[in-house]
C-alpha cells in the first residue's frame, strides 16, 4: 500500500518496476519560508511577531552603500555588528553623536575608530508573502516566516516574492500573448502555460500583475526580465513586487498534469510565490486535505529525449534498449494515450507524489 498525501491510494500496491523511477513531489507541507535580506535592509518585525499576507516586514535598500560614522565614545562599547543605528533627535546628545545619528543604517564593523554603516536613501518595502509568525530575523541575512499550508515546488523564482489571487490564463501546454494581459489582472498571480514571451512578461509587470507561473522560460526572456528589473531599480519610484516562478527549465515543456491539477484546484484562492523553498505557497490549504486532487501512482512523465514533456501510464519494464551508438539503458514501456506502449529509458522518467 502506498502512501499518497497522507492517505492511501486505491491502486494499493505499486508495480515493482516503478520503484526504479524517481518520485517528484508535486506538493509538500508548507513550514518555513526564508526571505533574503542584505546588510542595510531594515527588518520591521521580530521573532514571534504575527504577520498578515502583504504586511511590511522589512525595508530593503534600493541604492545601498557603505558610509563611515564616528560614534560617541560612551556608545562604542555597547554596539555590535548588525545593530541598527537609528537617527537621533537633533537636540539630544553630543555634537559627534548628533552628527552620527543624523543617519540610520546597519552597523557593519569598526576600523580606524570609525564604524562602517550600510545605508541608503531609497527603500522599498518587503511584504510578507503569506500570513504566519516570524520564526527568525537575522539582520543582513534573512527573515523566516512559519506558515502552515501547501507548497507546490518550482525550479526557480526570478524577481521578488509576490502574493495574490491565482488565475489560470492558459492550459498546461499553452502559451499566452501580450494582448491577453490587461489591467484587470492587476494584483493576481497568473498561470500562463508552457511558455511566455518577453513582451507578454513585461506587459504583465507593467499592468500590475503580481506574479507569473510558467512552465519554462528561455534565456532571452530571462535577459529581458533582468533588464526590466534593473530599470525598475533605477527608477525613482519603488517597484511593485513582481515574481516569475519557473516550474521547469528553459526549453518549452508543458506543465506536468499533476501540478496543473493542483493549480486548478487552487485557482481563485490566495497564493504566494516564495523563493526558499522555491514554489507556490497556498497557506491554509492542508497538504493532505480533500481539496487537492490525488496523483495516479502509475502516471509517469518523460523528462528527456524526443518525447520530453509527454505523460503516460506505466506499462512495465522493457529491459535494456540501445538509445545511441554504444549506449544501452534499462527501459520501461509507457502507454501514451491510446497508442501502443513506447520504450523509454528509466533514467528519462519520473513519477509523482
Amino acid at each position: 500500500v502506498i502512501e499518497m498525501n497522507g492517505g492511501t491510494h486505491p491502486a494499493a500496491a505499486i508495480e515493482p518496476g516503478l520503484r526504479l523511477v524517481p518520485v517528484r513531489a508535486t506538493r509538500r507541507p508548507l513550514s518555513l519560508i526564508r526571505l533574503a535580506l542584505a546588510p542595510g535592509d531594515r527588518p520591521l518585525v521580530a521573532a514571534g511577531d504575527a504577520v498578515a499576507a502583504g504586511a511590511a516586514i522589512a525595508e530593503r535598500l534600493r541604492d545601498g552603500r557603505t558610509d563611515t560614522v564616528r560614534l560617541p565614545s560612551q556608545e562604542v562599547a555597547s554596539v555590535r555588528p548588525g545593530d541598527w543605528l537609528a537617527p537621533m533627535p537633533a537636540s539630544g546628545g553630543s555634537r559627534i553623536g548628533r552628527r552620527a545619528r543624523s543617519r540610520s543604517g546597519e552597523l557593519l564593523f569598526a576600523a580606524s575608530g570609525q564604524w562602517r554603516l550600510a545605508t541608503g536613501d531609497r527603500v522599498e518595502v518587503l511584504e510578507a508573502p503569506v500570513a504566519g509568525s516570524v520564526a527568525a530575523v537575522v539582520p543582513g541575512a534573512w527573515i523566516e516566516i512559519a506558515a502552515a499550508g501547501t507548497l507546490i515546488p518550482g525550479a526557480e523564482l526570478l524577481g521578488s516574492p509576490a502574493h495574490g489571487r491565482l488565475e489560470i490564463l492558459a492550459p498546461a501546454s499553452g502559451e499566452i500573448r501580450s494582448a491577453a494581459i490587461d489591467v484587470g489582472l492587476a494584483g493576481r498571480i497568473i498561470v500562463v502555460g508552457a511558455r511566455i514571451d518577453a513582451e507578454a512578461l513585461l506587459r504583465a509587470r507593467a499592468t500590475g500583475v503580481a506574479g507569473v507561473v510558467v512552465g519554462s522560460l528561455g534565456a532571452r526572456e530571462r535577459r529581458d526580465l533582468a533588464a526590466s528589473e534593473r530599470r525598475q531599480q533605477a527608477a525613482l519610484q519603488a517597484p511593485r513586487p513582481f515574481g516569475v516562478l519557473v516550474l521547469g527549465g528553459a526549453i518549452r515543456q508543458p506543465v506536468a498534469s499533476p501540478t496543473e491539477s493542483l493549480l486548478e484546484a487552487l485557482a481563485g484562492g490566495s497564493v504566494a510565490l516564495v523563493p526558499e523553498p522555491v514554489g507556490i505557497a497556498a497557506p491554509g490549504v492542508p497538504v493532505d486535505g480533500s481539496a487537492l486532487p490525488r496523483v495516479r501512482p502509475d502516471l509517469v512523465r518523460i523528462v528527456a529525449g524526443p518525447m520530453a514533456g509527454r505523460e503516460g501510464t506505466w506499462a512495465g519494464l522493457a529491459g535494456p534498449r540501445g538509445v545511441a551508438p554504444g549506449v544501452v539503458l534499462d527501459s520501461a514501456l509507457v502507454r501514451i494515450g491510446d497508442a501502443a506502449p513506447v520504450a523509454v529509458p528509466l533514467v528519462a522518467l519520473e513519477r509523482f507524489a
Binding site: 515493482p16 518496476g17 520503484r19 526504479l20 523511477v21 524517481p22 533574503a36 542584505a38 546588510p39 552603500r65 557603505t66 555588528p81 548588525g82 557593519l108 564593523f109 569598526a110 576600523a111 562602517r116 550600510a118 537575522v138 543582513g140 541575512a141 534573512w142 525550479a155 526557480e156 523564482l157 521578488s160 519554462s216 528561455g218 534565456a219 532571452r220 530571462r222 535577459r223 526580465l225 533582468a226 533588464a227 521547469g248 527549465g249 528553459a250 526549453i251 523563493p275 522555491v278 523528462v303 528527456a304 529525449g305 524526443p306 520530453a308 538509445v323 545511441a324 551508438p325 554504444g326 549506449v327 539503458l329 534499462d330 529509458p345 528509466l346 533514467v347 528519462a348 522518467l349 519520473e350
Partner: protein, 539 residues
C-alpha cells in the same frame, strides 16, 4: 558479515544519474553480474532486486549455482554487501581579496581544489556587499587573501578587511575562515579561539611561506572543510590501485555531479603506485559554478557568452545561439535532461568544455606532465554518453605528447568500489573486476613540436601499423589533422611513426615505435601541433 555479503556486493555510485552493479564471487573471483544506469534517488533495495532479477532471467543456471535469490535486496540478512559512494555538490567559498593581484593565484588554487567561489575585492565591491556575501547561508567558508609581501594598496586596506571579517565572525561564528599571504599576520585580531563552538580560523605557520607551500597548505585545509573529500579520495585510491595493478601510468578522468576531476598515479618499481597529481573543478554544466543566488538581478547572466560561442563552434546540430543558450540553461537547471536525445548532445558539449577547463587548470608550465599510459573515464557524466564521443573529448582535451590508451568504466561503479576503506579488500576487488569493468575505447597518439607545414606539402611523415587484423603500411601523416584508423578491440599492436618535420612523441626521434591497443573508437594520431598551441574549437 552475512554469507550473502561474502558472495555478493551491490556497488552504487550516486550522482545526477546512478551507476549500479551487482557483483558476485564466482570461482573465488569477483565478477560483474549485472549493471544498470538509473536516475538519482532510487532506493538501493529496489536497485538490488532489479539487478538480481536481471541475472535470474538472463542466466537462471548461474543464478541457481550462485544461490542468487530474487527479491532479497529488501531483506537485511540476505541482501548483498553495499558499496555506496555519493559525491555531494561542490561547496561555495567567499574569497575576500585585498586586490585583484592577490585574488588570482588564490582563485586558481580554490578552483583546482574543486570549490565554487565568489570573489570580492575592495576596488569593485564595497564592505556592504562583502558582508552580505559572507552572511549568505550557502557560503561554506571564507578566505582572506593579501599579497605576501603586501603591496602598498593592499597594506592600506588589509586592516579594514580584517575588521570586516572579525565583525562577520561575531555575527556568524560557524563560518570557517582561512588567511592567505600577509593576512596570516593578522590572525590574532580575528579572535582565533572564538566563541565556543565557533568554526576554526586557519592560517599557515610560519608566515611568509613559498608559493608552492601555500598552495599545498590551502588545498589541504580546503579538503578538510569539503564534504566531498571522501568521494574524491575514492578517485585518488582508484588511480593508485589501477596503476599498481596494471603497472601503468594512469589518469582517472571523472565527470560527476560535483564537478570534474583529473587524478594521476604512476607505478614504482616493486612497490605500490603513488598519486602524482589531482586537479578538481567544481562544475560540469556551464554556469553552475558561478550561478548567482536566487533573487539576484544578475540571474540572466548565468551563461557565459564565451562558452556559448565555443558550443556554437563545436556543435553538429546547427542550432542558433538562442536555442543553444536555452538548451545549455536547461541542462544547468535539470542535468537529467542531458541523459538522452537532444540533451545528450548538449551534455557532450558541456563535458567537452568542462574537461578543457579542467585540463587548463591542471596545466603547469614548470612541470609538463607525461602522457598517461591509460586514461580511465568514470562518473555519471560518461554514463549516458556515446563511447566514441567520450573518446573524442579525451583526444581533443588531454593533449600530451605520447600514446595513451582510453578506457571507460562502463558500469559506472569503479569509484564506488574504490571507496572501500580496507586496502586489501579494495585491491582484491579492483584486481578481480578491472577486466570486467573497463571497456577499451581506443588509443590516442599525440605528436608535439611539429614544424608548421608550408605550401601544399602538408605531409609530415608516415606511419606503419603492425596489428594482427588491421596492419597497414605507409599511412600518410598530414600536419594539422587527426588521422583516424580502425583498430579492433581485444588485441594490441604497434605503431611506427617516421616523422620528417621534427615532432616528438616522448623522446625526440625521427622513428618512434609505440604500443597501441584497440577499442570501439580505434586509433587517433593527433598531428595538430604542439600541446597548447592548438585550442579547443579550432578545426
Amino acid at each position: 558479515v552475512t554469507s550473502a555479503q561474502r558472495r555478493f556486493a551491490l556497488a552504487v555510485d550516486e550522482g545526477t544519474v546512478t551507476g549500479a552493479a551487482l557483483l558476485g564471487r564466482l570461482a573465488s573471483r569477483w565478477r560483474l553480474l549485472a549493471a544498470t544506469t538509473l536516475a538519482a534517488g532510487i532506493g538501493h533495495d529496489a536497485i538490488e532486486d532489479h539487478l538480481r532479477d536481471r541475472v535470474s532471467v538472463a542466466d537462471p543456471a548461474l543464478a541457481t549455482r550462485m544461490g542468487l535469490v530474487p527479491g532479497a535486496g529488501s531483506s537485511p540478512s540476505r541482501r548483498a554487501r553495499r558499496l555506496i559512494r555519493y559525491a555531494p555538490d561542490a561547496p561555495l567559498l567567499a574569497l575576500v581579496a585585498a586586490s585583484v593581484r592577490a585574488a588570482r593565484p588564490t582563485q586558481a588554487i580554490v578552483a583546482a581544489a574543486g570549490w565554487r567561489s565568489v570573489t570580492t575585492t575592495p576596488d569593485v565591491h564595497d564592505p556592504r556587499e562583502t558582508t552580505g556575501l559572507l552572511l549568505r547561508p550557502d557560503v561554506a567558508a571564507a578566505v582572506l587573501a593579501v599579497g605576501s609581501p603586501p603591496a602598498a594598496d593592499e597594506r592600506s586596506i588589509m586592516d579594514e578587511l580584517v575588521a570586516l571579517l572579525a565583525a562577520v565572525r561575531r555575527r556568524r561564528p560557524s563560518l570557517p575562515l582561512l588567511l592567505v599571504g600577509a593576512a596570516a599576520s593578522r590572525l590574532d585580531r580575528l579572535d582565533p579561539d572564538g566563541p565556543e563552538g565557533g568554526a576554526p580560523i586557519l592560517a599557515p605557520d610560519p608566515v611568509g611561506r613559498a608559493a608552492a607551500d601555500m598552495r599545498t597548505w590551502l588545498r589541504g585545509e580546503l579538503a578538510s572543510l569539503d564534504p566531498g573529500t571522501p568521494a574524491r579520495a575514492a578517485l585518488e585510491r582508484l588511480a593508485v590501485e589501477i596503476a599498481t595493478t596494471l603497472r601503468l601510468r594512469v589518469a582517472v578522468l571523472a565527470l560527476e555531479r560535483a564537478g570534474a576531476s583529473l587524478v594521476e598515479a604512476a607505478p614504482r618499481p616493486a612497490a605500490d603506485a603513488v598519486l602524482e597529481r589531482a586537479t578538481y573543478l567544481a562544475s560540469r554544466t556551464p554556469g553552475s559554478d558561478t550561478r548567482p543566488p536566487l533573487g539576484d538581478p544578475a540571474w540572466a547572466s548565468i551563461l557565459d557568452e564565451r562558452v556559448l560561442e565555443r558550443f556554437e563552434q563545436w556543435q553538429a546540430a546547427g542550432l542558433d545561439r538562442q536555442r543553444l543558450a536555452d538548451r545549455a540553461l536547461q541542462l544547468t537547471v535539470d542535468p537529467r535532461w542531458g541523459s538522452v536525445g537532444d540533451g545528450s548532445a548538449i551534455q557532450a558539449l558541456a563535458a567537452r568544455e568542462t574537461v578543457a577547463r579542467l585540463v587548463a587548470l591542471d596545466h603547469d608550465e614548470d612541470r609538463a606532465p607525461h602522457a598517461p599510459d591509460l586514461v580511465v573515464l568514470v562518473g555519471d557524466g560518461f554514463a549516458t554518453m556515446a563511447p566514441t564521443e567520450a573518446f573524442e573529448i579525451v583526444v581533443d582535451a588531454l593533449r600530451r605528447p605520447g600514446a595513451t590508451q582510453v578506457a571507460l568504466d562502463h558500469a559506472g561503479v569503479l569509484p564506488a568500489i574504490a571507496s572501500i576503506d580496507d586496502p586489501g579488500d579494495r585491491r582484491a576487488m579492483i584486481v578481480d573486476l578491472l577486466g570486467d569493468l573497463l571497456l577499451p575505447l581506443g588509443t590516442t597518439v599525440m605528436v608535439a613540436d611539429l614544424r608548421s607545414a608550408r605550401g601544399h606539402d602538408r605531409v609530415v611523415g608516415a606511419a606503419d601499423l603492425d596489428h594482427p587484423w588491421a596492419a597497414r603500411a605507409g599511412i600518410p601523416l598530414e600536419g594539422g589533422t587527426v588521422v583516424r584508423l580502425d583498430l579492433p578491440p581485444g588485441t594490441g599492436g604497434s605503431l611506427e611513426l617516421n616523422l620528417r618535420r621534427g615532432g616528438r612523441v616522448g623522446p625526440r626521434a625521427r622513428r618512434t615505435r609505440l604500443p597501441v591497443t584497440g577499442g570501439i573508437a580505434g586509433l587517433a594520431i593527433d598531428l595538430r601541433g604542439a600541446a597548447g598551441g592548438w585550442r579547443l574549437g579550432q578545426p
